[in-house]
């Protein structure tokens, strides 16, 4: 008897596995990251990013050891979580913040059973935890190419309205749009360099890592709803972390729906809640909570039955 392996078909596999997909997301984050590092200086950003990633991976290993789960801490998902969390922190904050933020992010994933079982995007949970626990640190922004603190255009907008925002950019709308596109404004490390975010999105779409539904409907909704509420829609999509969230956070596989129609509803919901928070709630930024709220109803959105090819409605006689 020879020792050929017996398995059921198929006998070949696509090379793309979970680690490949996770690493693809990390790679797609690099253009925006490089932009952030250049704009805010490497001392204010690099140690923060590195520590956040290390903390996430170490926490993941720790939890898997304690909970006696399979040790998969190097599959790239913890790296993405730590990376994402660092990129949505303001530059120059104390380094213990991302460390405990990442720990909490991984905790929020592991209590539900690890990757694939978490209802909420771990990085956003980490950020929400930091924003709610240390609001002073999480809302102190560095001025680009400088060490003085400033305000984000969104914060200015929610205090003083559009005229206040224009005051930041010599009163010119086109200067405002241009500066905001190139990331010359206060904000989180990863969210300011719009060109880098667009490059990252292109990479994700071209490698078929994600589908277009969520980012397009999310951004489209933000644009349209802001415009209907009388806000400059271009300012609306360029400001805050909405683009970063729509491209990298809302598209998280685990916490977003799987069916195309559900993805469209989800993207719309994220965009709508996001603008509602910006306009009517007592905080300037809504991306974090918009996506977390939509995460809640993801299982509901997926609870549909897809009709197969050749489906015929049974006649009720």
């Amino acid at each position: 008897m020879s020792n050929y392996v017996i398995t059921a078909s198929p006998h070949i596999r696509n090379k793309i596995n979970t680690a490949f997909l996770m690493n693809m997301v990390s790679i797609s984050l690099l253009p925006a990251t490089i932009g952030g590092i250049v704009i805010f200086g490497w001392t204010n950003t690099l140690p923060l990013i590195a520590l956040s990633i290390i903390s996430a991976v170490v926490s993941e290993a720790l939890f898997q050891k304690l909970l006696k789960l399979p040790m998969s801490y190097l599959d790239g998902s913890a790296i993405v979580t730590g990376f994402l969390l660092a990129l949505c922190c303001p530059p120059g904050i104390p380094l213990w913040l991302p460390v405990i933020g990442s720990f909490f992010a991984i905790f929020s994933k592991q209590v539900f059973g690890g990757l694939g079982h978490n209802p909420f995007n771990p990085a956003l949970i980490g950020r929400a935890f930091l924003v709610l626990s240390f609001p002073a640190h999480m809302t102190s922004w560095l001025k680009p190419f400088d060490v003085v603190t400033t305000s984000t255009p969104l914060a200015v907008f929610s205090e003083k309205g559009m005229s206040g925002v224009l005051g930041l950019f010599q009163g010119s709308v086109s200067t405002m749009h241009k500066s905001m596109f190139w990331g010359i404004r206060g904000g989180c490390i990863g969210e300011v360099f719009i060109l880098g975010l667009l490059l990252g999105l292109a990479l994700l779409l071209l490698t078929k890592t994600i589908q277009w539904y969520v980012p397009v409907t999310y951004m489209g909704t933000v644009f349209l709803v802001s415009w209907m509420l009388g806000m400059d829609p271009i300012f609306s999509i360029l400001s805050g972390g909405v683009m970063f969230g729509a491209f990298f956070m809302a598209t998280d596989y685990v916490t977003s729906p799987m069916l195309p129609q559900s993805k469209i509803i989800y993207g719309f919901g994220c965009g709508f809640i996001n603008v509602m928070i910006r306009f009517f709630a007592n905080m300037p930024e809504g991306t974090t909570f918009a996506i977390l709220l939509m995460n809640v109803i993801t299982p509901m959105l997926d609870n549909r039955i897809k009709k197969p090819v050749g489906f015929v409605k049974e006649k009720t006689s």
């Binding site: 059973g113 197969p308 090819v309």
Partner: protein, 441 residues
């Protein structure tokens, strides 16, 4: 030239066809021992009509079909029946087979000669002739051909689709048949057409076989038939050759869930089947040979071979110059839907379209579903494969019916693509079996 395809789902898989696509079909003489399992087709196994010690000739009937849903089996060499007992079976693992020892004389049964009937005989006689010849679908599903050529009276079949898609990686036997046996292919078509009178004939070929597409187009132009024959190039996308997908790609007709192609007026047949029909009618040879592709990264010389059915795998390995590296998996059929073999002591069956020797194993370490949605995106039946995993793990097999589990054609794309390496199709197979068991109880 419009290139057609099906929706939804499907994807291109690295096809590895370069190894054999330019190699002409070579004849191979069988070894000393040949095995003829009684079950080589969908349906009831045939019943042996020879005894141990009996001499048989090429083309002699050795096992008789049991009813309509069965198929005759003929000897493909001359020699002596050694025994009839359980032998390793390539599909079911173990099954009764007739063991014939080759006398290397290759004496033909005297009655194997061109049958002298023209188109005078009626459809019924033609169909029963095909049945006698033991012809089954050669694409791999081995559905008895006489059943396909005999549409139910209440259906109005107008389109005949010849399947030359060959979407499985590695396989090139249909490709070579279209290039080398063009005359027989169209002769077979002419014969079928004279009885069934289709309004239209379509040959669907994936566009990684451009030479075959052009060759057939030229042939049709030079030898016009009394029915329009359209050579349709198809996008190279697995599973383009699956019956329902091929019908949709070439005619835009959708076969309803649980129905046969007859219901939308189509009959689909593989190129190899048509050539077998031609050979049976013109030469009188029953189904005793088949063309297959021996390939994979382990074989010294991958080849397209014409072998007598019943030839042992070990003889084919020798014929192909042995191995350059040790294979870990032997696959009968293509790598997407084929069946693994335990040993080389198994015979070629009527439906064996390829023998693939693979040195790499598919990863078996299953991790958690990350809900990426790739299984849904690529499913050619439009299903939600991940649901079946969730339900099977909870033993909620009944609920799988709500998600149309029986629409699954088992193409394997969900498992192929799963980044978490979940053998989704295995869960679906278990679900189908459980449901069948519950129904029969």
């Amino acid at each position: 030239m419009k290139i057609k395809t099906f929706h939804p789902g499907g994807m291109h898989i690295p096809d590895h066809k370069d190894r054999t696509k330019d190699k002409p079909i070579v004849d191979m003489a069988p070894g000393k021992d040949l095995l003829y399992p009684l079950s080589q087709h969908v349906g009831i196994p045939a019943e042996p009509i020879v005894e141990a010690g009996q001499e048989v000739l090429i083309g002699q009937l050795i096992a008789k079909a049991q009813g309509d849903f069965s198929s005759n089996i003929h000897a493909s060499v001359s020699g002596i029946v050694k025994d009839i007992k359980e032998y390793p079976h390539p599909i079911s693992g173990l099954g009764t087979a007739i063991h014939i020892e080759n006398d290397f004389q290759y004496s033909m049964l005297p009655s194997i000669k061109p049958p002298c009937f023209e188109s005078e005989i009626n459809l019924k006689a033609f169909v029963s002739f095909i049945q006698e010849a033991g012809i089954v679908g050669m694409g791999g599903a081995t559905f008895p051909t006489h059943l396909k050529l005999n549409p139910p009276p209440d259906s109005s079949v107008d389109t005949y689709i010849i399947n030359g898609a060959e979407c499985e990686p590695y396989l090139t036997c249909d490709h070579r048949l279209m290039l080398e046996k063009t005359k027989e292919l169209f002769d077979g078509l002419q014969i079928v057409q004279s009885y069934l009178r289709f309004k239209k004939v379509i040959v669907g070929i994936e566009n990684n076989k451009m030479d075959a597409i052009e060759h057939l187009q030229n042939y049709v132009q030079e030898n016009p038939m009394d029915v329009p024959v359209e050579i349709v190039p198809l996008v190279k996308k697995y599973p383009q050759g699956a019956e329902k997908n091929l019908i949709f790609a070439t005619t835009n007709r959708i076969v309803p869930v649980g129905k046969l192609p007859f219901s939308v007026g189509c009959i689909v047949q593989n190129v190899g089947t048509l050539i077998a029909i031609s050979q049976a009618i013109r030469e009188g040879t029953p189904m005793i040979y088949r063309v297959l592709t021996a390939s994979g990264d382990c074989l010294q010389e991958p080849k397209n071979i014409r072998v007598p059915i019943g030839t042992l795998l070990s003889d084919i390995v020798t014929f192909c110059g042995g191995f350059v590296k040790d294979p870990k998996e032997l696959v009968f059929g293509g790598p997407m839907m084929g069946v693994n073999q335990r040993s080389q002591d198994v015979p070629v069956l009527k439906g064996t379209s390829g023998i693939i020797f693979l040195s790499t194993l598919e990863p078996l370490h299953e991790t958690s579903c990350i809900r990426c949605g790739r299984c849904i995106e690529n499913c050619p039946a439009g299903l939600m494969p991940y649901r079946f995993v969730e339900l099977a793990k909870k033993n909620h097999f009944e609920d799988a019916n709500h998600y149309f589990v029986n629409s699954c054609i088992e193409c394997g794309l969900c498992t192929y693509n799963c980044p978490a390496r979940i053998p989704i199709l295995n869960y679906i197979r278990v679900t189908k079996q459980e449901l069948k068991r519950k129904r029969s109880r």
